[in-house]
Symmetry: C2
Subunit: 178 residues, 2 copies
């Protein structure tokens, strides 16, 4: 019986490297150690007057559901620059980043999401390659039953909660299911 996993290439073998205390994924071909670091997701609750920017996902997971413009932070940028870049990539929206709204830890998938409040600089938006559609919705128009991720619900709740507050502490993750 052939173990198909043994044919996988790259750092797919679990080992505790010398001098380390934790199991890491190592490549038995070339010896490369893949330290898996938590990943930072940056995004924004971006508004134009009383309307909120949402993107309908053109890619899995949660294809066809609505989400905030957000994605993995890239090398060499700040969290704010990353959040603005994602709004451009996913919704062709130019935004001005405001205060840090939430820091959502999701240890199960080793993610830290950093969501900012932001203002659209114009209401000219259009779907980027990862979006099927984009839209500006009033609070009551938000497609609440077609939201892609719990973090989007959290960010909207925290947006409301901190609205009108000058300085506030960023909010944290909520129990799953909220």
């Amino acid at each position: 019986m052939v173990d198909e996993r043994s044919e996988a290439k790259g750092p797919v073998t679990k080992l505790v490297p010398e001098g380390d205390e934790r199991e890491r994924l190592v490549c038995t071909d070339c010896g490369f150690i893949n330290y898996i670091n938590p990943k930072i997701v940056v995004g924004a609750v971006a508004t134009w007057e009383d309307r909120f920017l949402l993107c309908k996902r053109a890619i899995p997971p949660r294809l066809g559901y609505w989400t905030l413009p957000a994605g993995f932070m890239e090398e060499g940028e700040s969290t704010q620059d990353g959040a603005a870049r994602e709004a451009w990539e996913e919704a062709r929206a130019r935004i001005e980043i405001g205060p840090l709204l939430g820091v959502y830890n999701i240890p199960r998938i080793s993610q830290v999401q950093m969501i900012y409040r932001a203002r659209l600089l114009s209401d000219e938006i259009s779907a980027g390659p990862e979006s099927e559609d984009v839209g500006l919705f009033t609070w009551d128009e938000i497609p609440w039953d077609e939201i892609a991720f719990p973090t989007v619900h959290w960010a909207f709740a925290h947006y409301r909660e901190t609205l009108g507050q000058g300085e506030f502490a960023p909010r944290s993750e909520m129990p799953m299911g909220v």
Copy 2:
């Protein structure tokens, strides 16, 4: 003439992978693509009464200089858990994590540092393997001329600035040289 770089193993070759827009480090042996993500450093300004916890570094960089307990966030933990773990690893200190004091972006080295305010649960501390010494210093006793990193200066400044404030927005990186 032999190009020594061609003998290096692992993902050391710069290429734009198919379907990507950016250069990544790729392993030409096994095809593994090393997406370099920004790394999260978690740490704390931890106090016992009017004294601050500092660790004298036993490892490079900045060996022999004093720093806050801080280090790379690990898989499967929250930012708060990571900051508490680092205080234990570096100073055998048990701490209770408070509000987020600063989010310091350092794009040049693709780091996001998240520094919390924290309280020591006892003044029993001792040097962990990466520390040559640990200490509890009053503000005036802090070895200001022997501080390892600019971020330590920023965190102390922001600690002072936000002291006594109930709810506050986390502070940001400062121009280098401050």
